[in-house]
């Protein structure tokens, strides 16, 4: 069964149409990458998967059931910024997931349950390579480390789907490479479904098992908001294969924000 299923999905803000007639089926275990021009509605689509926004028309289903209309632990998320809590140390950030689950009233664990949760949290930090930063606050971490922490925190809940909105967009190219290795390793090991928005076409091709392109099919030069974007390309990828050739050159040049990285 499909884990995510969109049928004839529309999203309008007033008379601005952002997304129109989106059809999509995502199988469990897919690594879906999403590219598209800035402002075309990628984040809006992600927010609908989160339950933060509701579609104005059409159906959105998660595991066969209607998408819950608020965020929940079955869908983890990492944004480009502000994904971790500044007032908690790295360990505290990861531990919070356990505390929220097991202490509904005081949201804190004491004694033995706390020790167990700490062990889990440390294990998760180790998995993303943050063992030495456990007691640092996010403001003391580099951008890459903060995103590692955000991923670790999201994975604590064993979500069905991990939603990533340009998670590495603010990072240096070298660090971005490390992050790619990390996310691929976690994806393979945890058998999780990933839905990742990126503005870097190469990143989309390198990471995904499937690449979606969001774009407008119709344009009205006098009313830019009249028509919305939809999925114009849906390309199955094999990992490691160069599949960029399957996109027309015009689309490639339009989306490629970092063309010189090909040679790097």
């Amino acid at each position: 069964m499909n884990i995510i299923e969109a049928r004839g999905l529309w999203k309008e803000y007033g008379c601005d149409t952002v997304l129109e007639d989106v059809y999509l089926s995502v199988a469990p275990g897919d690594f879906v990458t999403v590219v598209g021009a800035s402002g075309c509605g990628k984040s809006t689509f992600l927010r609908m998967l989160l339950g933060e926004e509701t579609p104005t028309r059409g159906q959105l289903r998660l595991d066969g059931a209607p998408m819950p209309d608020e965020p929940g632990p079955d869908r983890g998320v990492v944004f480009q910024r502000y994904s971790v809590f500044p007032h908690l140390t790295a360990l505290g950030n990861v531990l919070l997931a356990e505390e929220l689950a097991r202490a509904p009233l005081i949201a804190r664990l004491l004694g033995r349950p706390r020790r167990d949760a700490l062990a889990r949290a440390r294990e998760m930090l180790e998995r993303v390579g943050l063992t030495n930063a456990a007691h640092k606050y996010p403001s003391q971490l580099s951008g890459g480390m903060q995103q590692r922490l955000a991923i670790a925190q999201a994975l604590m809940k064993n979500p069905r789907v991990l939603l990533l909105d340009e998670p590495f967009g603010a990072l240096d190219p070298g660090i971005r490479k490390d992050m790619h290795a990390l996310i691929l390793e976690l994806w393979e090991r945890l058998d999780i479904t990933i839905f990742m928005v990126t503005h870097d076409l190469k990143e989309g091709f390198d990471l995904g098992t499937r690449l979606l392109v969001f774009d407008k099919v119709r344009h009205d030069p006098h009313a830019p908001g009249a028509y919305g974007a939809t999925i114009t390309y849906d390309i199955p990828l094999e990992h490691g294969a160069r599949a960029a050739e399957r996109l027309p050159a015009s689309v490639r040049s339009e989306l490629s924000s970092t063309p010189d990285e090909e040679s790097a």
Binding site: L50, P71, F79, R81, S83, H87, L96, A97, K157
Partner: protein, 273 residues
């Protein structure tokens, strides 16, 4: 020669410059006082520093003939008790109400206009009502302080909660947090340092309302004393009292600042970025 905006004083020069205005005011006072006393040795308006020092020592060491208490300390204790009670109550209420209205849209819609209207009432205008309702004892003074500073603090905290990036609130929900848990573990801890900041900014107003209430009805207190001895033009008591109140306010301010720094190390480092 560098532009003025690029020139910075060193440590020693900086401290000297900071002291300069104080020294100038003191000097001006001493000169004016000496001039008046030379004209009329019995002048009460600008007593000499020596006279004031004598008065201060008397106030701080000799028991009063009427009550047997040492006036300065008794007044200070009475005033600080009122001030700190009012401020502490305001802090707790502001934190509870401000974070809740900031986080929960239904509460915000219900309470925001009401609280905004409440904040428009000049606190001193309702002082007579407080005296009638709560008597002229401690309660009415504490209530006046709370009424005077709570609306600002509450609204400040509400705004701080609203400023928490939406991403964090969403993230907390994806970690399974309930409204109550998010209030407890995200909204409150992140606004606590702001609470201390808001309190610091409210201290001036708190002192104002305290002294106003004490001036009108009290048997003790720093404000009460100043307004009592005003009748005798007793500048040698008033001026040291004012200096003492200023020192207390200054210390409280610094203490809150320090507390913020100690309790919330993430706050200072996060803001420095």
């Amino acid at each position: 020669m560098k532009r003025l905006i690029n020139q910075r004083p060193g440590r020693v020069l900086g401290s000297t410059l900071a002291l300069l205005p104080f020294a100038l005011v003191l000097l001006a006072y001493v000169a004016a006082s000496a001039a008046r006393l030379a004209d009329n040795p019995d002048d009460k308006l600008l007593p000499s520093l020596m006279t004031m020092a004598d008065a201060l020592v008397r106030l701080a060491t000799e028991p009063s003939r009427r009550t047997g208490e040492i006036l300065l300390w008794a007044d200070t204790a009475a005033s600080l008790a009122r001030l700190l009670t009012g401020v502490a109550i305001s802090m707790m209420l502001a934190l509870a109400v401000g974070t809740a209205t900031g986080l929960i849209p239904y509460l915000r819609r219900t309470l925001s206009p009401f609280l905004a209207a409440l904040a428009m009432i000049p606190p001193l205008a309702i002082l007579p009502i407080l005296f009638i309702a709560f008597g002229v004892g401690e309660l009415s003074k504490v209530v006046l302080i709370v009424f005077g500073i709570l609306p600002f603090m509450m609204r400040d905290l509400q705004q701080r909660v609203e400023e928490i990036p939406g991403e964090q609130i969403v993230k907390a929900q994806t970690l399974g947090g309930s409204t109550w848990q998010i209030l407890l573990r995200v909204a409150i801890p992140q606004t606590l340092p702001r609470l201390f900041d808001a309190t610091r900014l409210s201290l001036g107003a708190a002192w104002l309302f305290l002294i106003a209430a004490e001036a009108i009805a009290a048997e003790q207190g720093l404000g009460y004393r100043i307004f009592l001895v005003r009748r005798y033009l007793d500048m040698q008591t008033i001026l040291p009292y004012v200096a003492w109140i200023t020192l207390l306010a200054f210390t409280l301010n610094g203490l809150l600042r320090r507390l913020n720094y100690w309790l919330f190390p993430w706050y200072a480092t996060g803001r420095a970025k």
